[in-house]
Every structure is written in C-alpha cells, then in structure tokens.
Symmetry: C2
C-alpha cells in the first residue's frame, strides 16, 4: 500500500492542470509531473486518462451535493431562509474549489465524453436537490399553487444563476463580499 493516497494525489493534480488548459489540453506527462509521480504510476492507479477525469467529476458533484445537504439540514427549521442558506453553501463550495468549479462548468453540458453518463446522473441529482429547496421555500411562504409546479428546470435555472454569478465574481470581479453576491443572485428567490 502507498504511504500517501496516490489516487487522490493524481486527481488533485489533474484538476490543477486541467483548470489551466482544459481536459484535452492536459497531458498525462503534465499530470504526472504535477502529482510528483511517474507517468507509469498514473496507469497503475487508473485505467486511462478518461478514468481519471471521470473520478474528478464524480468527486466534484459529490462535494457539491454534500454541501447542499448540509445546508438544508442546518436550516431545516427556517424554510423561508433555506434558499439563501443553500446558495451561500454553494458559493463557498465553489470558491473553495475554484479549479474544480471551472472544470465542472466547462464539462457539464458536454455529452460526448466517455464519462457522460455518470456525469449526467450526478448532475441530475444536484439539480433535483435545488428543485426541492425551491419547493420547500414556496410551500413555506404559502405559494399560489402546489409546489409540484416547480420542476427540475427551475432547479437547473437556480443552479445556473448561482454558478454564473459565482464564476463571474471569482474570475472577473473579486472585489465583492459573499453577501453582496448573494444579494444580487437572490433578488426574487
């Protein structure tokens, strides 16, 4: 067994390299160098380059889903403020994993990758979580009609608004606080 988790060393290096030049632009040589291992070790720990990035994407959505779940359980008693709590947790997670967030943004609508099926499952489970958050908030404010009217599409829009504002913030206008960004995103939610 390895002294450190070589698999994790490799996926973290893959994220760093791919954030700079995209997945196709990230060569196995560069990933090996960034991870501090030989290229042969990449192929011992993963069956292919695709397998590395499938793991990267899986980890990313899992992390995001866990952050949303945690925010939901913490704000369970106050459904009116649930959207803001979940939005804040999302922004913090993306900020703490900026390289990964950029990568996920550039891959989320690609249907050609070898790992597209696995990614679509993970993406869908996150979108459903956002949909449920909007439903709970609507129910709490006694919305006009039953919350079944809020579909996955609304969840995708909420997620898109968060991701779009967050990356605009972190990449192009960093001189804002989290609360300022939240205020801008949540006008209306």
């Amino acid at each position: 067994m390895a002294r450190v988790n070589t698999k994790q060393l490799i996926t973290e290096a893959a994220v760093r390299v791919a954030a700079q030049q995209g997945i196709s632009g990230a060569s196995m040589d560069q990933i090996a160098e960034a991870a501090g291992v030989a290229k042969g070790s990449l192929y011992y720990n993963f069956s292919s380059k695709d397998a590395i990035f499938e793991q990267v994407m899986r980890d990313g959505f899992e992390r995001l889903g866990a952050a949303v779940d945690e925010a939901r359980s913490q704000a369970a008693g106050d459904p009116a403020r649930l959207p803001r709590a979940v939005a804040a947790a999302t922004l913090e997670t993306l900020r703490g994993n900026l390289d990964l967030a950029k990568l996920m943004a550039s891959e989320i609508f690609r249907t050609d990758r070898a790992w597209a099926g696995a990614m679509e499952l993970a993406r869908s489970s996150v979108v459903v979580r956002y949909r449920d958050v909007l439903r709970e908030a609507e129910a709490a404010r006694g919305g006009p009609r039953a919350s079944e009217e809020i579909t996955e599409t609304a969840g995708a829009a909420f997620f898109g608004a968060l991701a779009g504002a967050c990356l605009d913030w972190l990449l192009f206008r960093r001189d804002q606080s989290v609360d300022q960004v939240l205020d801008q995103v949540l006008r209306g939610y």
Copy 2:
C-alpha cells in the same frame, strides 16, 4: 474571390465538429472535411486553429447581443414585461444555435485560450445588457431603491439562469414548451 463565403463555411463546420467533441478534440482534418474544403484552404482563410475559434466565439456573442437588443427595442413601451421578452429571445437564439450554445457554455469561463481577451470583452458586453434589462424592470415597478444597486453580478446570474435552464431543457428534457421553461426560469424575476 470565392463563389461562396469560404470563411463562413469553415466557421460553421468548426461549430458542428466542436459541438460533438470539444474544441481541442476537433481536428483540422475533421473541420476541413465537414466544410467540404481541403485542409490547406483552412490555413489560407485563417492563420491557425485558434483564429477559427476566436471568430466562432465572436460571432456567437454578437448574435446573442443582437437578439437581446432587438427584444429590448420591441418591448420598449412595456418595461414590466421586458425580462420575459428578453428571456424568450435568449432561449430562441440558443435553441436556434444549439451547437454554438454548447460551445459557448463550455468556453465562457476558460481564461487560458489564445482568444480569452476578446471573449471576455464580448461576454462582458452581454452581461451588461442583462443587467440593464433588470434595472429597467426594477425602475418600472418602482423598486425599493435606485437601480444602481443592481450590478453586473445580477446580470451574470440572470444569464446563468437562462443558459442553465435552456441547456438542461434542450439536452436533457425536450418535452417542454418555451413558455413552460420561461415560467420556471422567471419565478421571481
């Protein structure tokens, strides 16, 4: 002079190929074949592969900006319905250029490309348009405070919500009408 616009033939083919396999995955051989010209003609009309995709991105943002401008001028007399009019124009434009929309989504937050500077300018001008739409709508409904409180970040969030919902719709759940998607996205705007 060529009998048809070879440059346009090439950029359109580049969009089709790159929508399937990404920009890095799109080879010059494939683009030439899809355009129905020889590879040498690619290099006669464009200085490099990067130059082709810089033109592609420029065209995409220009098309989107023009659609927003047209919707704004048509809805000029009714600022309360401006967001929906602009949102509808955005969805229709993305739907009519789905390959290009996928490509733009996967590139919009990449800062490593040779054409990143040009793309950031184009992206910013589109975000400002959405911000202005939100400001006009807020002013029309006599919003709590001056519209200066609505920043580019809100514009980026609005754009993100539209793009996120639209691509979720067109790629994963096509069994919806434009109006249904608009209803989901605009809850709150």
